[in-house]
């Protein structure tokens, strides 16, 4: 249930930004999650609705983009996409792997008037 805490922190950022930019009504919140963060979008949506209740973002639509897991082999330098939980280089079979995408948890933008 880390969705609740993340939704609360997101709500704080959205409300603070709306206040600073003098938005009376936030219509859309665009966020990005990496697949490894294991957020359940439906639970996150519920938690977000609760967090933004009685704020200028109470009617905001939540747009969630999920990013795939991408990796780089530190031995041969090739980049590859995670398939079947195999964190091993497809080319040289090395396990010296760096995750270059998939752990994101960020807010891209808000829209409003």
């Amino acid at each position: 249930m880390h969705e609740i805490r993340i939704a609360e922190d997101l709500s704080t950022i959205v409300v603070d930004t709306a206040k600073r930019e003098k938005l009376l009504n936030v219509t859309k919140v665009n966020i990005c999650f990496g697949k490894l963060v294991q957020i359940v979008p439906e639970i996150f949506e519920l938690a977000f609705r609760e967090a933004v209740r009685n704020t200028p973002a109470s009617n905001a639509m939540l747009h969630i983009e999920i990013l795939s897991v991408e990796m780089r082999c530190m031995k041969c330098g090739s980049d590859f996409h995670l398939i079947d939980n195999q964190y091993v280089c497809k080319r040289c079979m090395s396990d010296e792997i760096k995750i270059i995408q998939g752990k994101e948890l960020f807010i891209k933008s808000i829209e409003g008037e």
Binding site: I6, E21, L36, Q38, N85, E96, I107, E111, G112
Partner: protein, 228 residues
């Protein structure tokens, strides 16, 4: 009107975690974040660790629990400083709660601070506490599929402890599958197969941990000599 933000949602937690990390690094103190499901053996591993390393190394513990101080009570007999954080329903600790309790410790008198996180395999791995590294514990009674189901934790962990190996004959736990799954997810992570109640396999864990703690103590001694 669209307003670009491009910011980590957990920025607040991350900033505080860096503050914790800087503070502990200035004291040359190691912080270890222990993560597992409820009942995997976090407290029992701490008990054994206090018994074996306690005489030579100054240990402190932050006990994270949803409610009760039962784990802390179990560690009381080792006469080490312990602070309990009750999350009252929260499924993980965060860096703010850690920072707040650090003032309860005399950090100059510690070599290692263990944080026993709330029992959970997903949420705690998302929240940086300012630790030096995370340890994942999994017990055989939970099944051999945990690395595959919770890859983030097993990727992030600096060591994995497989506990309750003495119970394998009474479960359908497949050690070969567990080892190969873990190898696929994090081929470089050391695995300690132990029984915290019987003592099997613990020597390897003590050696590994001791080396990490000694490394920190050494950097402290070097900087003290430099300051003379």
């Amino acid at each position: 009107m669209e307003i670009k933000i491009m910011k980590n949602i957990l920025d607040r937690n991350q900033h505080k975690a860096e503050e914790v990390r800087n503070l502990l690094s200035s004291k040359k103190l190691l912080m270890v974040n222990i993560i597992s499901s409820p009942g995997a053996g976090k407290t029992t591993l701490l008990e054994r660790t206090c018994e074996v390393l306690g005489p030579d190394i100054r240990i402190g513990v932050i006990e994270g629990d949803i409610t009760t101080d039962r784990d802390a009570q179990r560690l009381k007999k080792y006469n080490i400083p312990i602070v309990v954080i009750n999350t009252e329903g929260g499924c993980h600790l965060d860096s703010h709660s850690i920072f707040k309790v650090l003032e309860s410790f005399d950090l100059e008198k510690l070599d290692v601070l263990f944080v026993e996180n709330v029992g959970n395999l997903i949420c705690p791995s998302q929240f940086d506490l300012g630790e030096n590294f995370k340890i994942a514990i999994v017990s055989t009674a939970e099944g051999d599929d945990k690395p595959g189901k919770y890859p983030m934790l097993f990727r992030e962990a600096e060591a994995v402890v497989l506990n309750k190996i003495d119970l394998i004959p009474y479960t359908n736990f497949n050690l070969t599958n567990f080892r190969s799954d873990l190898k696929m997810i994090n081929g470089q992570v050391p695995l300690f197969e132990v029984s915290c109640t019987k003592g099997d396999g613990l020597a390897g864990w003590f050696d590994w941990l001791n080396n990490r703690i000694k490394g920190i103590i050494l950097t402290r001694e070097v900087s003290q000599v430099k300051n003379l």
